[in-house]
Amino acid sequence: MHCPILIAVVIWSSCVDSQKIRGISLSYKRFYRERKSFLCIDGSKLIPFDQVNDDYCDCADGSDEPGTAACPDGRFYCTNLGYRPHYIPSSRVNDAICDCCDASDEYNSHTACQNTCRNLGQRERAEVKSQMRALDQGLRLKQQLIEEGVLTWRDKQAQLRDLQRVLDDLQTQLDDLRKEDARRKKEVDALRELEIGALETEENSHRSHIMNESPVSIFYELDSNRDGRLSAKEVRAKLTDIQDGERVLSEDEAVIRGRVPGRLVKGEPVLKAAVSAAEKAAAELKKVEDAYETVYMEIRDLREKLATDYGPEREFLFLYNQCFQLKVHEYFYELCPFNQVTQTSASGAEVSLGKWGSWAGSPQHRYSQMKYENGEPCWQGPTRNTVVTLTCGTETALRSVKEPGKCQYVAEFQTPVACRPALRQQGVHSEL
């Protein structure tokens, strides 16, 4: 390996020719041309040139000591050949901690720093490369997902239209059935009115055998408050003598709804038929009502979901109805995007860490963070909430969940749709 030697030579030679101007970047070199005197960059003071980097702070702006720790808010330029050059606070010069990968900050401490720039550079380039690969792949996947999203969106719209049509149909049916049902009920009521009238006249004389013969009259007899229902109390009051002494009639057993006394009217064929027709109509009505309700709810849900902001190209639509899990030690986390975040402990107790709130990224990158709010309240604290940060990757998965402050969760959610072409620029920038 002769590369390290080459780098060492380069550094050595650069040291020789810039002894006085250690710690500055090329662009600042013009301020430090070797002359008799040096003008502080802010123009505040003129000092002899040999007071530049002499380990004493003369300029208020720290510009006379770019290569030492003498000035309080100075900065030191790490050239970091082979890696990324950058500034460090001058207080990190000669503090026995290696900050610049080229070791240039520790020229006068007892710490032997290795030049690690080449390794770092290689590693970073490799990383950037793989990131770029991932980004490219991610962007391709994102495009697919956007296209799928368009289809899904159309499907959903179509579904909504279909459902709306179904709902309209059901509405029509409902109107008809409600009329039919009302008619049937009226018929039954009329017939029953007749029957009861007839029975009442016979009531007194036939009391004893009526007890054995007519269930309607028994019902009537028991229904002491005439509300069309038998309560346990009423039955108990009348039937104490036929109780077996151990069993007590429960409320459920005792209540017989006045609406369905049909079973009690075995003996009356006309009434029986009418009642059964009414029952049928009612059942039919119930069925359609249920269907209506179901479809109505479905439409409402769908509308709500379609009203959610799925990103400028609806690229996040595919997450709709999906959930992602992650186990962190004894906890099991689940993120259902646009719905909720939950935590389940080993004991099986599930806690809501927040319900879908809004996109919460910075104004430039609104879609880089999601906020889930109003989860379960904390002991002596606010309600739990979760901020989900979306990162670019080739897979869609929940990567981490943490709780940096009590009941304030942060999660990392990786997905191709978080990939942005702008990331490529950033990556290229850091690539040397």
Binding site: P72, S91, D95, I97, E330, E403, K406, C407
Partner: protein, 935 residues
């Protein structure tokens, strides 16, 4: 955090039941009033008057070292033994015990650093009414009056202090239980009766004994019953201080520096307690207890050290306190002969009367006297004086790394990051949570790479869990405190059911110390230090959230030694940290509970305060009080523990904390995160600046602590009466303080403050604003406009303060950095200061005399550095980079002269508007002699 709630749910609920009141404040009902503590009630029921005690002069024995004399209580004929010692350094020790107690009464061990050396007493005169003894030098005499018994210490014609002058000496002697409840074993009873009958006039004594009051043999508070097998054992004594209007000390209370009179209210209570959300400005007991009171008048400063570790109450009354201004004026006009006087009364539940009277006469003398008894402040590693970042809790290794990184990103220095109870595996101290902290050594190495350190908590409650090594070892060795029935005492604390090691047992302490060895404490490294919390001890389900008084430590009840338990925990821990390094490294241990002598083992903090402005204010008197009684290394949680501070309060707290000895931010688990950079760039910059001011001043802090360690002088002093003992105007002021002699700090503790009024002491002195270098005259109240940028700090004219202005990311990184000397001239153009340098962390300064200690003096236009410790040797890489002379005039030439005769001219810069002369780069090594001459 959720995990916490799930696991700690039952504990919290219990704790809640024990501690939490509906409103935001302490639940006073959880803690006893004097009336609810039956011995206090009994003692307080005694009113001043004729004392039943009489000195039996014929029993006098006078030896070279002490005088002994019997006292008799004429009501019950029980005899007491009085021992009087004249101690070296102008102190008198008065011990009173029963002449023949049924069994020994507890005398507090391990507090005095040695058997105090005595001086001979001599009998000057004696008659049937009493005797006069000479207290050695000066004209001090001790007068013993026989009937009633009374002691007066006089100097010339003046009474300095009287004992039992109000007749409140009361000694509940040990007795045999006579009421129906008790039926001691026959043999025991017989033996005790024999012992009792040995006393003269034993029969009469028995009669007196039969008066049994409620609470003498059993006492119930809330649901807890104290079995009191020894019956009533309390003691009390009163002291009168003629000419004294100001008394201080007896921490820990969240109250003003000047102690208030307690007539008609509660006495000050000393009983180490874990008080949840403590209230300000009242005499309730808190986490620590130091039974030392200082009295001060322009003529004299004195101290009383009541060496007793049982529950103690202190009553204070004053003959001037009740007077209106009009009344005082009337006294003045009429020439009232009544001199002001403060009366103090101490009441303790058990033990003996053992009181040290420190006769001053100056504040410095009293500090030296107290230090000669109990030792001085431990000299901390330099890094411990830097900034500490704490939170309950830094969640895991990643969190620690991120916070560490945050400090670097925002260029804020820090030295220590702290881990609270969640770091351990199920609150099993000495272990690490395997998920959150799987690689503690790697984490510590990461901090070491930045030259930073960590503190992990180790509390004295040990989880009862047979698979936990610490528990099983303590149990098998029989080191746990026992309950009254002889089993291991168990109580509820953070880990759930817990045992409490008996730290009063030296074998237990030795074993505990050995647990800090690197091969015992897994995951520990050199840069891991320790924090002892909950060592009052806190017992969530115990009476007053602490241990049952009838718990047993060997031969003694917990009642006898409660207040010293916390001291022993810190003692054993500090010893462990010393031992793990083979005796090389200085330890750093923080404790919440403390007692007299705790200063020898590390730092204390004021416990669980709150993010409120008043809590910021109270930090000043609380730490000043501790400083007066030896504990200089004191601090309060910056930002407040409970609740969440506004950014303004947080910034003001950082600015104040930067000038208080122990500088640590801490926060409760339930509070939102508050690392310094979370409140916007402006507040980040303000906090950065506050922390940097601290770091620049570290050389001065270190030197103050060296001084405190050597002499016992407090680091954070009450400005006026410690340094300006004649300046009565401000004897009660506690909103500002001095650091050492030379820095006056006036924190801003009002929300939205636009200005503060600081008192600059010293007629004829001058003070320089350290931010602007503006000069102000002493002896005046000065209104200073303030902005958010800083708090007023002044340097005394006549002082020289060394700083290291190259603030780096940790104090270790600044080790070899050069010094800047700030020379503030007095009106007579004089100044002096010191410079202390050593390796910053080992005992070599002590063992090998490896340190630099120099006197810096400016006089006759000449500034020089001279060696103050010729026997010492140490070499430093640090040099003098700049000298800033405040209040100077412009010289024509500045010459640096070295001892070898070499001379060189120094460049300088003179700012005429502020009269500031800056000498450029003398460049001399900080450890050598040099002279700078202004011409």
């Amino acid at each position: 955090m959720a995990a916490f709630i799930v696991r700690m749910g039952p504990v919290l609920m219990l704790w809640l039941a024990v501690c939490v009141s509906g409103s935001w404040a302490v639940d006073r009902g959880n803690f006893k009033t004097c009336d609810q503590s039956t011995f206090c009630k009994r003692q307080r029921a005694l009113k001043p008057g004729q004392s039943p005690y009489r000195a039996l002069l014929e029993t006098l024995e006078l030896t070279n070292t002490k005088l002994t004399l019997q006292l008799i209580n004429d009501n019950n004929k029980v005899r007491l033994l009085l021992e009087l010692y004249r101690l070296q350094g102008n102190m008198t020790r008065v011990k009173i015990n029963e002449l023949k107690p049924l069994k020994p009464r507890f005398e507090v061990p391990d507090v005095l650093i040695n058997d105090p050396p005595t001086e001979p007493l001599s009998l000057l005169s004696q008659d049937e009414n009493g005797m006069v003894l000479s207290l050695g030098a000066d004209s001090q005499r001790l007068i013993v009056s026989a009937k009633p018994f009374r002691l007066d210490i006089m100097e010339g014609r003046e009474v300095l202090l009287s004992l039992n002058s109000r007749g409140l000496l009361a000694f509940e002697h040990l007795r045999i239980r006579k009421d129906t409840l008790a039926d001691p074993e026959g043999a025991e009873k017989k033996e005790e009766t024999d012992a009792a009958s040995e006393q003269t006039e034993g029969e009469e004594a028995t009669k007196e004994d039969e008066k049994v009051e409620d609470g003498m043999w059993e006492e119930t508070f809330k649901s807890h019953t104290d079995s009191k097998p020894n019956g009533p054992t309390s003691i009390s004594l009163d002291f009168s201080l003629p000419g004294v209007e100001h008394v201080y000390g007896i921490p820990e209370h969240a109250d003003t520096l000047k102690l208030k009179t307690t007539d008609g209210g509660e006495p000050y209570r000393l009983y180490n307690l874990d008080v949840f959300q403590y209230e300000l400005f009242n005499p309730m007991a808190l986490y620590g207890a130091i039974p030392v009171m200082l009295s001060h008048s322009p003529q004299r400063t004195m101290g009383l050290f009541w060496l007793n570790a049982a529950e103690t109450w202190v009553d204070i009354s004053s003959n001037t306190a009740g007077k209106t201004v009009f009344g005082q004026m009337l006294d003045y006009v009429q020439g009232s002969s009544e001199t002001p006087q403060t009366d103090v009364r101490w009441i303790s539940e058990s033990g003996i009367i053992d009181v040290f009277i420190m006769l001053g006469p100056t504040p410095t003398d009293v500090f030296a006297q107290y230090a000669s008894l109990t030792g001085t402040q431990a000299f901390p590693p330099l890094a411990a004086l830097a900034y500490h970042q704490c939170r309950w809790n830094y969640n895991d290794q990643e969190d620690v790394a991120a916070v560490d990184q945050g400090f670097d990103q925002h260029d804020i220095p820090y030295d220590f990051i702290w881990l609270d109870i969640e770091h351990a595996d199920g609150k099993r101290y000495f272990t690490w949570d395997p998920h959150k902290f799987p690689q503690p050594k790697e984490m510590l190495q990461g901090l070491e790479d930045k030259r930073r350190k960590m503190v992990a908590i180790v509390d004295p409650h040990i989880k009862v869990d047979n698979s936990y090594k610490i528990h099983s070892e303590i149990r098998s060795r029989g080191f746990y405190i026992k309950n009254k029935d002889g089993g291991d005492y168990e109580g509820w604390c953070w880990p759930g059911n817990s045992g409490y090691p008996d730290f009063t047992n030296p074998e237990m302490r030795a074993w505990w110390a050995s647990m800090f060895a690197y091969d015992q404490y897994e995951g520990s490294r050199e840069n891991l230090y320790t924090w002892n919390d909950m060592n009052e001890p806190s017992v969530f389900n115990g009476p007053e959230v602490t241990m049952h008084k009838d718990a047993v430590h060997g031969n003694w009840e917990h009642r006898d030694l409660h207040n010293i338990y916390g001291l022993y925990v810190q003692m054993a821990t500090a010893e462990g940290l010393i031992q793990r390094s083979g005796g090389v490294e200085r330890p750093f241990v923080l404790t919440r509970a403390f007692f007299a002598g705790s200063q020898r083992y590390g730092a204390v903090w004021t416990g669980d305060n709150a993010a409120e402005w008043d809590h910021l204010k109270i930090t000043i008197p609380m730490c000043l009080s501790l400083g007066l009684v030896g504990v200089s290394f004191c601090g309060a949680d910056v930002g407040g523990f409970f609740k969440s501070p506004s950014p303004e309060l947080l910034v003001r707290w950082y600015q104040t904390g930067a000038y208080q000895p122990f500088f640590r931010a801490h926060a409760h688990l339930d509070t939102p995160r508050r690392e310094p950079w979370l409140f916007g760039p402006e507040n980040t910059a303000l906090i950065r600046e506050a922390v940097r001011q601290r770091y620049a001043l570290l050389p001065y802090w270190y030197q103050l602590f060296y001084h405190a360690h050597r002499t016992g002088q407090p680091v954070m002093r009450y400005s006026l009466w410690v340094e300006y003992p004649q300046d009565t105007a401000t004897f009660s002021m506690d909103d500002q303080f001095l650091l050492g002699r030379d820095l006056l700090v006036h924190p801003v503790t009002e929300e939205g403050a636009r200005g503060v009024t600081a008192y600059l002491p010293g007629n004829g002195e001058v003070w320089f604003d350290v931010h602007t270098f503006q000069k102000h005259n002493g002896g005046q109240n000065l209104y200073i406009p303030v902005t958010m940028s800083s708090i007023p700090v002044f340097q005394r004219g006549g002082s020289i303060i060394p700083r290291k202005v190259r603030v780096r990311r940790s104090s270790s990184c600044m080790e070899h950095d050069p010094y800047t000397l700030y020379v503030a001239l007095s009106p007579k153009r004089f100044a002096q200061g010191e410079l202390y340098i050593d390796d910053g962390h080992t005992f070599s300064y002590e063992k090998q005399k490896e340190f630099i200690y120099r006197r810096l003096a400016f006089a006759n236009n000449t500034l020089s550095s001279r060696n103050l410790a010729p026997g010492s040797q140490f070499t430093t890489l640090s040099w003098i980079e700049k000298i800033v002379i405040l209040g100077a005039s412009k010289p024509s030439k500045v010459t640096l002269k070295m001892p070898d005769g070499k001379e060189s001219q120094l460049e300088f810069d003179f700012d005429a508007s502020m009269s500031v002369l800056t000498l450029r780069k003398p460049g001399v090594n900080a450890g050598v002699d040099w002279t700078v001459v202004l011409q």
